[in-house]
């Protein structure tokens, strides 16, 4: 199967969104481009973007490889995508509101109750909570793949704490530094205002009893966290405090942070700490990363937590397979963006099918992320498949499986010139009293020839993503 190349598809010739870029590229000296590649790495080292890879013997921090060839999306393609994303995000929030209130979708039998009841991401402590503006998931990163000119699919809805937006911003910053002339020739929609949009969006969902400018803070688990750079970066870019659990306590009915002038009330907390660690008085008592009592303050309506606790129930991989039903249930319309067909291994017929077709399928852990614990059937050895098959048999409900899609490719610059590599796209969505999607997002690229795994933890890189202003 030949993958759809977004620049130069087989037979069709150069695609229109790439025409201007291609014209520029033809006049570039290959040696100069190679030099630019090295410049890019220097820029990243200087800004300090690194990430930690779990499970590697040398757990030292590493740079995510960056490719200097942009991924280009036409304005009209983007508009279609955003309609689909908006619909999806509306449905996700409606689903969360329903699940923590009347549970109409369960009563209607459209989603099986057991899927919620046995799910650790469902937090009883959220039952009856109506957050400001009715928003549960404020910041979402929807992973989208393309397989042809007109076929886009959603791979995952990252509705709890999506990361990667700092790479989107740094990638653009780097491209602007390396190729200022390109941005004069080609009109690319800006992404640089994301921190301002994020700040406005968080302000708009402040508790209803807060008048005036709310105080926002970013809660990080600390500097050992793999995304710490991003937490610090976003706090800095928004001009708000970066805090850790130990800096916070309950004061005068609010969560407050220690400052040189005493405790200062926080109205909106953009937290990058997982639910289980958020409040040792409510969830894991051994957590030193959270704020004791924050759930009490939250239920009393005195703070906004973004994203709300318990949003994980909406982006769980087992729930994902019901997204078409969920979208139709709450929006009354068919999904604009499709789901990838998914086999739920908890169902005996599906399990049987998956076991018999392991060599063709991608099998993922229901609660996993970051590409850990998954099997890419076609790329796996017979031994790997056999071992995985045993794990699958032992805990079938822990897995879902999907067909191996032929993800679209974009060219990257290699030592031998341009070469196609598979990509996906994570646009970032902000929800407050409105939905905003920054044009573009994070394009992740599998740098190994033929590889379909784009996760940075598994050897993936990133690209700047351009949405043309056409």
């Amino acid at each position: 199967m030949v993958a759809f190349d977004e620049m130069l598809p087989a037979e069709a010739g150069l695609r229109k969104p790439y025409e201007a870029y291609d014209g520029w590229l033809k006049n570039q000296d290959p040696a100069r481009l190679t030099e630019k590649m090295r410049d890019a790495e220097r820029v990243f080292r200087k800004t300090g973007i690194t990430f930690a890879v779990y499970g590697e013997r040398d757990a030292s921090e590493r740079l995510i490889p960056f490719d200097i060839v942009p991924r280009i999306i036409a304005g009209n393609e983007w508009r279609r995508l955003t309609q689909g994303i908006e619909q999806r995000v509306q449905a996700l929030n409606a689903f969360l509101d329903d699940i923590y209130h009347r549970q109409e979708i369960l009563r209607a039998g459209r989603v099986p109750r057991e899927l919620i009841a046995t799910n650790e991401a469902f937090l009883p402590e959220m039952i009856g909570v109506k957050p400001p503006a009715g928003v549960y998931t404020h910041i979402i990163g929807v992973d989208i793949v393309r397989i042809s000119e007109n076929e886009f699919y959603v791979l995952e809805d990252n509705a709890r704490t999506p990361s990667g937006v700092s790479y989107m911003l740094e990638n653009r910053e780097t491209m602007l530094q390396l190729f200022p002339e390109l941005f004069q020739r080609i009109k690319v929609q800006p992404v640089e205002n994301y921190p301002q949009l994020l700040r406005q969006s968080l302000s708009a969902v402040r508790p209803s009893n807060v008048s005036g400018v709310p105080t926002i803070a970013v809660l990080t688990p600390g500097s050992f966290n793999s995304a710490y750079f991003e937490h610090a970066f976003l706090a800095d870019q928004m001009g708000v405090q970066l805090v850790e659990g130990q800096d916070l306590r309950v004061v005068d009915g609010h969560v407050a942070m220690r400052t040189t002038e005493g405790y200062k009330q926080i109205d909106v907390l953009y937290r990058r700490v997982d639910d289980a660690f958020l409040d040792p008085l409510t969830f894991r008592p051994d957590s030193a990363l959270g704020v004791p009592g924050i759930m009490d303050v939250y239920r009393a309506g005195n703070i906004t937590i973004a994203n709300a606790p318990g949003t994980g129930i909406a982006d769980d991989k087992a729930i994902y397979s019901y997204m078409p039903e969920i979208i139709e249930f709450y929006t009354g319309r068919k999904p604009i963006l499709g789901n990838i067909p998914t086999w739920r291994c908890s169902e005996p017929d599906s399990l049987k099918y998956v076991q018999e077709h392991l060599a063709e399928l991608v099998v993922k852990e229901v609660h996993g992320s970051g590409g850990y614990g998954m099997l890419v059937g076609p790329a796996a050895t017979k031994k790997e498949r056999e071992e995985f098959s045993k794990k699958l048999a032992a805990r079938p409900s822990n897995y879902i499986a999907q067909p191996t899609l032929s993800l679209s490719t974009c060219p990257i610059l290699t030592a031998k010139g341009l070469a196609p590599r598979h990509v996906d796209l994570r646009p970032f969505v902000l929800v407050s009293d409105r939905i905003q999607i920054v044009p573009g997002g994070l394009t992740r690229v599998a740098l190994k020839e033929g590889s379909l795994v784009v996760n940075s933890s598994q050897g993936g890189g990133t690209k700047d993503t351009w949405v043309l202003d056409d």
Binding site: R102, I127, G128, V250, P280, L281, D296, R299
Partner: protein, 264 residues
């Protein structure tokens, strides 16, 4: 019956407490089984930060220590008019779905002993089977304070064969769930007939029976709650309904004294 309750909890520390939180579920609500007439909370050494209704509708308050106290005292007192509703405390209300009460919690996860116990419940109508479960638990777990603590699981208490009302309630909730009933834990007070001073707060369990609603079972006393019972909070287990839970930052050693009176 008009019951007057006083419930004093005093925490004494060997050194000043720098920071700490207490979460109180000490405010009874009115319902079919009772009407709250007067109720007050008096707190020293701490102050109320927020109050809210939790996921089960319990009036909940969060306190933080005030100043650098050596003592925190919490006095809940008031009068409640109770009705004998033959243990039936009403239909299920609120957003917490009934199915939630069918799921085990860490404190009420059944093991072989509870499964074995439930296998001994005979045939019969729903309420009859639940009574039979209660009788089995009353027979198997003797009331013996000091043998278990707040972290003892239902299974452990049953294996031990001894415990307090919390353990009876946990085993009942676990057993009722195995029988297919939604079940919950109720914390509150009981006026023992022969005394004003009560040993402790009380706890029992409720099972939801279709058509009837929540029906109470006090396996510690092997009866359904009557007008001598005052209900305060509910949850799936002790942890979710506990009258006072807290978190203390610092190294102070804590000494707890509880004094409860319930009288007519």
């Amino acid at each position: 019956m008009r019951l007057k309750v006083t419930h004093r909890t005093e925490y004494n520390y060997d050194q000043p407490v720098r920071y700490g939180l207490q979460r109180l579920r000490l405010w009874p609500a009115s319902g079919p089984a009772q009407t709250m007439l007067t109720w007050t909370l008096r707190i020293e050494g701490a102050r109320e930060e927020v109050r809210f209704l939790d996921q089960f509708g319990n009036d909940t308050r969060l306190l933080s220590v005030d100043g650098d106290p050596h003592t925190i005292s919490i006095l809940a007192e008031g009068e409640v008019e109770t009705n004998d509703v033959s243990g039936v405390s009403g239909l299920h209300r609120g957003f917490a779905p009934l199915w939630l009460f069918q799921h085990e919690t860490p404190l009420t996860a059944p093991g072989p002993a509870i499964r074995d116990l439930v296998a001994g419940v005979g045939e019969g109508d729903e309420v009859g089977r639940l009574h039979s479960l209660m009788a089995l638990i009353a027979e198997r777990i003797v009331y013996e304070p000091g043998t278990t603590d707040t972290r003892t699981t239902a299974e452990q208490a049953l294996v031990k064969g001894a415990g307090v009302c919390q353990d009876h309630a946990h085993v009942f909730a676990a057993g009722a769930r195995l029988l297919g009933f939604p079940a919950r834990y109720v914390s509150g007070y009981l006026m023992m007939n022969d005394r004003v001073e009560q040993v402790a707060t009380h706890a029992w369990a409720e099972a939801n029976v279709a058509g009837l609603g929540w029906v109470g079972f006090d396996a510690a006393n092997c009866i359904s709650p009557d007008e001598r019972y005052v209900r305060v909070a509910v949850g799936r287990d002790y942890r979710e309904a506990m009258p006072i839970s807290g978190i203390l930052i610092g190294r102070a050693e804590e000494q707890l004294a509880v004094h409860i009176t319930v009288e007519q």
